[in-house]
């Protein structure tokens, strides 16, 4: 029997996640799709797909008959709204929350890296799109050679960045940088996001740079390739766009990293491309796809482990 889930938030992320669950999931059943604007495109889409909807937010949701059977709630609203939603939902200990906002009330979760550490937690946070795309790579290097510094650059098509992302861009840089450290294992993390308005829109690109101790380059390369395969299991459009690049940062010419001082070692550069599945937004929106796919993968694994 499928496990019933609800999604709060009828923007790009919530709607894309709903489509993925309906079309792809063998273990999740879309029970209620929740928004706050009855005229929103997302709610209209849900009604058209035959999904029960609610336009009065979390307060409406918890009064519905469907509420009792729902086991997992996805929050695709905003950081501020998540704090409110979580206040309401944490009163129900049988429900788990998967938070796709930058609120990060619960621990960061990147499925192929730290799922097992967090499967008993009642509220997990999915970091950011850039974090989901890059932190697996930082962790892949770190499991072979200790990473001193991890830096990521996420380039996304302007059309795929909704108003929420745009108005709160610091949340992206700060949350991603923290998760590079906490989940990726880097001593220090840095995140950069660039919006590119080119037409036709460019597919999401993510670049990871790490400075690690000197390690076996072949082992690092293999570790990265294996990790890419892990991510591809739930994001088919995720790919290594170029072969892994290495540069030696010799002790005689160290780099000065804020917070770490002068460091040397091995620089690894990984150029990724994330093509979306084209469910709600077109293929260029890999940023949307990787976020919703990671949330779906997390929910499915939670079910495998818990129920």
């Amino acid at each position: 029997m499928k496990t019933k889930v609800a999604i709060i938030g009828s923007g790009n992320i919530g709607t894309d996640l709903m489509i993925k669950i309906i079309r792809l999931s063998e273990s999740l059943e879309m029970a209620v799709f929740v928004g706050i604007d009855p005229a929103s495109d997302g709610l209209a889409r849900a009604r058209k797909m035959g999904v029960t909807t609610c336009h009065t937010g979390v307060d409406g949701l918890i009064k519905m008959n469907e509420w009792e059977d729902i086991k997992i709630v996805f929050d695709a609203t905003s950081a501020r709204a998540h704090l409110y939603n979580w206040e309401k939902i944490k009163a129900f200990p049988d429900k788990k929350m998967i938070d796709l906002t930058p609120a990060a009330v619960g621990p960061y979760l990147v499925p192929p890296v730290n799922f097992l550490d967090n499967m008993d937690v009642s509220n997990v946070n999915m970091v950011t799109c850039g974090g989901q795309a890059t932190i697996p790579i930082v962790a892949a290097v770190n499991r072979v050679a200790k990473v001193h510094y991890g830096e990521i650059v996420a380039s996304i098509a302007s059309k795929s960045a909704g108003p929420g992302t745009r108005a709160n861009i610091d949340e992206f840089t700060e949350t991603t940088a923290q998760a590079i450290e906490k989940v990726g294992g880097a001593e220090r993390g840095k995140a950069i996001i660039v919006l590119n308005p080119a037409e036709p829109p460019l597919v999401m690109r993510d670049t990871v740079f790490t400075l690690s101790e000197q390690g076996d380059r072949e082992a690092i390369r293999n570790s990265i390739h294996k990790m890419v395969e892990e991510v591809q299991k739930y994001v088919p459009g995720y790919e290594l766009h170029q072969e892994v690049q290495f540069d030696d940062i010799p002790e005689s010419e160290p780099v000065f990293i804020e917070g770490l001082g002068l460091r040397h070692g091995l620089k690894t550069s990984v150029l990724l491309k994330v093509k979306g599945a084209g469910h709600y937004l077109p293929e260029y929106a890999g940023n949307l796809d990787i976020m919703t796919s990671a949330a779906r993968a997390t929910a499915e694994r939670l079910i495998d482990e818990n129920y």
């Binding site: 830096e151 650059v153 380039s155 302007s158 108003p163 745009r166 108005a167 709160n168 861009i169 610091d170 992206f172 840089t173 700060e174 840095k190 950069i192 996001i193 660039v194 919006l195 590119n196 308005p197 080119a198 460019l202 690109r205 670049t207 740079f209 400075l211 766009h241 170029q242 072969e243 690049q245 780099v255 000065f256 990293i257 804020e258 620089k267 550069s269 150029l271």
Partner: protein, 337 residues
């Protein structure tokens, strides 16, 4: 017209020309000399703004905080200013700069993405700072749409909005049309600024054209010290303003001396119009890509110009330095039999 306000960018844009390697003492020495010579504002930070130090843009010799510390106390006339790019630095960084005596900041976005700046502009106003909106790669947006972006920055609280020709790709008409659109769209109380790159040798001419159409905040740097073929050279601009009998606060001969005696000797790669920097202007590519592209060309045995042209074709915007190696690797793969 509002009073002419000259902002020096030698210690910010000039960072690009020397891979962000100014020593702390050099920064202080140059800032003091610029203040004495009467420039109105001195911008200091990593070339890519606060917290720009990274693999992607190059690590600085110092942190922004080390560069900024102790400068404001030494300035008598000039305002200490800095730059922030939302997406790279955060409001937390801005507050740190404010605590170090920075009075004015420019919040920079790509010319179509002004709506990622209101949070930072509002935060800077709350901190009591003078704020400029900085619309980069201005040649990639048409005058009326660019002015609409400027309006977003004005609405968020910007005191001034700039036409920022990051690629040094605009011709004089292009500058005039954009400044005119700003003047038509923005409130009379909002100032308009111009920031040029000299890639097509139009740095001074474009700055003057902008001024003649109502821009009063003019960016320039000593000996043009800046990304690509550099910025509008400050000493030349001041000489031209003198000949035009435009009132300003700067002293020509002092600026000439700092440019030649202090700045030029620092330039490890000459800042000038040559085939590579001309290609930036010609292809409309972000000037800061220059040294990174030269480095990639060297590493992978490719021609810098071809890399720059391809970056232009792919419509890469400021900040996408990581795509330089990507382009180089694609070119290398296509070269192989």
């Amino acid at each position: 017209m509002s009073k002419i306000y000259i902002q020096d960018v030698t210690l910010r844009d000039g960072m690009h020309a020397i891979r962000h390697q100014y020593g702390k003492e050099k920064i202080l020495e140059i800032a003091i000399a610029l203040d004495k010579a009467g420039v109105d504002a001195i911008e200091i930070s990593h070339g890519d703004g606060l917290a720009g130090g990274s693999f992607n843009y190059g690590f600085g010799k110092h942190t922004d905080w080390d560069w900024l510390e102790g400068v404001s106390e030494q300035l008598h006339h000039a305002k200490l200013t800095t730059l922030i790019l939302p997406g790279i630095a955060t409001i937390r960084d801005l507050k740190k700069a404010r605590d170090l005596g920075v009075e004015s900041v420019r919040v920079a976005t790509h010319c179509t993405e002004a709506d990622i700046s209101p949070q930072h502009i509002a935060a800077a106003k709350e901190l009591g700072m003078d704020v400029g909106g900085f619309l980069m790669m201005a040649h990639m947006n048409n005058p009326s749409d660019l002015a609409a972006q400027a309006k977003i920055m004005e609405d968020a609280g910007a005191d001034c909005v700039y036409v920022t020709d990051s690629a040094g790709a605009l011709l004089m008409d292009g500058v005039a049309d954009r400044i005119k659109a700003f003047k038509d769209t923005l409130d009379d109380s909002t100032e308009v600024g111009i920031h040029c790159h000299h890639n097509l040798s139009l740095g001074v001419a474009n700055t003057i054209v902008a001024m003649q159409h109502g821009a009063n905040r003019l960016d320039a740097s000593l000996a043009g010290m800046g990304a690509g073929a550099g910025n509008c050279p400050l000493e030349v601009l001041v000489a031209v303003l003198n000949k035009m009998e435009v009132t300003h606060n700067s002293d020509l001969y002092q600026l000439m001396d700092i440019a030649d005696d202090v700045i030029r000797p620092l330039q490890t790669r000459p800042v000038r119009v040559d085939r590579e920097t001309l290609s930036l202007g010609y292809a409309g590519v972000y000037s800061s890509f220059l040294l990174h592209s030269e480095q990639a060309a060297k590493k992978y045995g490719l021609d810098t110009r071809s890399i720059l042209n391809e970056l232009g074709k792919r419509k890469m915007v400021g900040g996408q330095e990581d795509m330089i190696v990507d382009v180089a690797l694609d070119m290398l793969a296509n070269k192989r039999p």
